[in-house]
């Protein structure tokens, strides 16, 4: 089953490779991994999307907790949470497609960030499924380039992940 795991870790060089190394050494999946410093510059927040049986997920959280640089670990999937991912997509926008692209962007509440005679660059935010749906809705030949951040997650309600 798919899980989204959030961790706070020391913002030190090497911390990211310790996590990435753990996943590859123990054969765990990484669907996506995002990391950036938090409002406290000594801490980074990492969101890992992974999948596995309950036993595997239990081991993943335990092994993450065991890393000396890791301060806290939470499996967001255990409770209501919000997930968002950002995608930048460059599409061909010529002829009748130009208007169609604009409409698609509006339907998905995307924003056109950059325009040339032949292309649009669109920003889209949402959960992974929404971004997938947008790509599905386009003619493959019209997609020039995509870049996605991977999911970031946060718990709903008053639950917080803090030191």
């Amino acid at each position: 089953m798919r899980h989204i795991i959030s961790t706070l870790l020391e913002n030190e060089s090497g911390a990211l490779s310790r996590v990435a190394g753990l996943f590859s050494a123990r054969g765990y999946n990484i669907e996506s991994l995002t990391v950036a410093p938090t409002e406290d510059p000594s801490l980074s927040r990492m969101t890992i999307v992974t999948s596995g049986s309950d036993d595997v997920i239990e081991q993943i959280t335990k092994q993450l907790n065991k890393l000396v640089d890791v301060v806290k670990v939470v499996d967001l999937s255990e409770a209501p949470h919000i997930e968002r991912e950002l995608m930048l997509i460059k599409v061909r926008a010529t002829g009748k497609d130009r208007e169609e692209m604009k409409r698609m962007a509006e339907i998905f509440r995307g924003r056109i960030l950059d325009v040339t005679d032949a292309t649009y660059t669109i920003e889209l935010t949402g959960n992974g499924e929404k971004l997938d749906a947008f790509i599905e809705g386009l003619d493959r030949a019209a997609i020039l380039e995509t870049v996605r951040t991977g999911a970031s997650g946060i718990a709903r309600g008053e639950r917080v992940l803090k030191v």
Binding site: L9, E10, S13, G14, S17, R18, G21, A25, D55, E58, Q59, K62, Q63, N65, K66, V68, D69, V70, V71, V163
Partner: protein, 568 residues
């Protein structure tokens, strides 16, 4: 007053009370070696290969409960030490490894003797550090020692670029170092301990299985009290031997791939299992599905939460420091110990005695060729069962584990997790230095011994009177055994036909060498060797080439699916 990074390193080691550093100098650590030269508190042991430095520091730690320290240079110094670091990591041995690194401005330039030490060791250390600022040096070394010996212990590496050893700053060694990301759980959960006590009291066919965690956490006294209170059977893993007295009637031998018939059968058929500081690894329980096919309740005590429910689901996990948890458990049990089902326990013991009567470790005592088991039995007798025994890896290791009855913890020193051939001799150096005057024997085989035999020269330099017991069968015995059982007797590359003359080898390094060919000469040769308190004696026993280790649980099989000697 500002002092250099190199001097800070030495002052930190002094502050930690480090007695010995095992190492080998080189370009990137020259400044540290210069500071080492100027003082005499921290003594240096010069090995002949960095692998030996790591094993010696490891052996020193295993035999003394102190943190082992080794010091090596950048590049090949580090890569040579990696096998020793990984060995310590797999067996959770507290160790601090200080490595030199090329100057910070040269890092990443493919400089001479540059290797990414932190990167290369990341998967085989508890933690590691690259120190780029001399002001961070003392706090980092403090952290390294703290991390190495607390929680589940392990090796910690501190990589120090050469310019940092030259740079200066004020020195202050912190008393303690707070780490928000590292707080090992010490106290077991009281509710869980109550549940555990309940399960133990209700058991019909109880079994206690203990591992290296009991030895590492110094929990042997508590374990003994608990066992005497309960009267249950107890088995030790390879790493746990000595954690419970091997001579006690409640001890039913080592378990696992080469464990006793009674220990493996009792593990498989028990209804309540108490696992203490052990991790259900593949060499212990074999196939986890086969093990899980029998219903039983499992209580698991360990300092490391990730060791619990990793290979086998447990019913009552207890995370905590083993001696403290056992104390709590004893306190819970004492007032209600009369609730034990004495009748059930009696018939369970009767069953175990039947299994024991199979005499699974028997061998041909009338053989005219030296049987390796006979050598270990005589070694046990001659040393009064009170020696420190190190071993290498293979058949000889299993025979030593089966036939030497360890009565105390920290007497059996072997590479259990990584299975590192070459461990025995350098580890014995560390053991002997930690216990001057004690009897130290290295049980080895000719193939293992040759992996680190250059350390014979180190033994001469520091006058280490180790007794090397070489069970020489002219084969990589365990490889040959597997090839016999599972690969149609095709002995692919497991035979060596150009072995050195071990007697001359010992003599060439300034020691005494003796070859023994007849069973009748085994005991006299051992007695003679152990009389020589000041000399290293290498005893080269020419043993039966065809002898196999029994019982054996073949890889992937269940604990009760053992091959016994009489079945072949």
């Amino acid at each position: 007053m500002e002092i250099s990074g190199a001097e800070i390193v030495i002052k930190c080691l002094q502050a930690e009370g480090v007695e010995y550093v095992f190492g080998y100098p080189g370009g990137a650590v020259l400044v540290i070696y210069d500071e080492l030269f100027k003082q005499d508190k921290v003594k240096h042991v010069l090995v002949r290969h960095e692998q030996g430095a790591a094993h010696a520091a490891d052996g020193y730690s295993r035999a003394s409960q102190k943190t082992g320290v080794c010091l090596v240079t950048s590049g090949p110094g580090v890569t040579n030490a990696v096998t020793g670091i990984a060995t310590a990591y797999m067996d959770s041995i507290p160790m601090v490894v200080i490595t030199g690194q090329v100057p910070t401005h040269a890092i990443g330039q493919d400089a001479f003797q540059e290797v990414d030490a932190v990167g290369i060791t990341r998967p085989c250390v508890k933690h590691n550090f690259l120190v780029k600022d001399v002001r961070a040096l003392a706090p980092t070394i403090k952290k390294a020692f703290y991390l190495a010996r607390t929680g589940r212990p392990g090796p910690v590496l501190v990589d120090i670029p050469k310019d940092v050893t030259l740079a200066t700053c004020e020195f202050e060694y912190p008393d303690s170092i707070p780490m928000r990301s590292y707080n090992p759980v010490i106290k077991g959960h009281p509710g869980q301990i109550r549940k555990a006590a309940q399960l133990l009291l209700e058991a019909q066919r109880p079994m206690v299985y203990t591992g290296g965690g009991v030895v590492l956490s110094e929990a042997a006294p508590q374990l003994l009290r608990l066992m005497k209170l309960l009267g249950f059977p107890v088995t030790n893993t390879l790493m746990g031997l000595g954690g419970y007295p091997g001579t006690d009637p409640q001890f039913i031998g080592m378990l696992g791939m080469h464990g006793t018939y009674e220990a493996n059968m009792a593990m498989q058929h028990c209804d309540v299992l108490l696992a203490v500081g052990a991790r259900f690894d593949d060499r212990v329980i074999g196939n986890p599905a086969h093990f899980g096919s029998v219903p039983r309740k499992i209580v698991h005590i360990d300092i490391d939460p990730s060791s619990i429910s990793k290979r086998v689901r447990v019913d009552v996990p207890i995370v905590g420091h083993v001696p403290d948890v056992l104390e709590d458990l004893i306190r819970q049990l004492e007032p209600q110990i009369s609730k034990l089902d004495a009748q059930a326990l009696k018939s369970w013991w009767a069953q175990i005695e039947l299994w024991r009567a199979r005499d699974c470790l028997r061998y041909d005592r009338a053989s005219e060729i030296i049987k390796p088991q006979h050598v270990i039995e005589k070694l046990y007798e001659v040393t009064g069962g009170d020696a420190f025994i190190t071993s290498d890896v293979g058949q000889h290791q299993m025979w030593a584990a089966q036939f030497y009855k360890f009565a105390k913890p920290r007497r059996w020193i072997n590479s259990g997790g990584l299975g590192t051939m070459g461990f025995g001799l350098p580890a014995a150096m560390g053991v002997q230095l930690a216990n001057p005057g004690a009897t130290v024997a290295c049980v080895t085989g000719e193939a293992s011994f040759m992996m680190c035999m250059q350390e014979l020269s180190t033994c001469k330099q520091y006058r280490l009177p180790i007794k090397v017991v070489n069970l020489n069968n002219r084969y990589m015995g365990m490889v040959r055994q597997w090839q016999q059982f599972f690969h149609g007797n095709r002995y692919s590359e497991s035979y060596m036909d150009a072995l050195p003359d071990f007697v001359k080898l010992a003599e060439a390094c300034g020691h005494i060498g003796v070859q023994v060919e007849k069973p009748a000469d085994v005991e006299p040769a051992l007695r003679e060797a152990f009389k020589r308190k000041d000399d290293l004696v290498l005893l080269d026993f020419l043993t039966d080439q065809t002898e196999n280790v029994f019982p054996m649980v073949p890889g992937g099989k269940g604990m009760s699916e053992m091959i016994l000697a009489e079945e072949l």
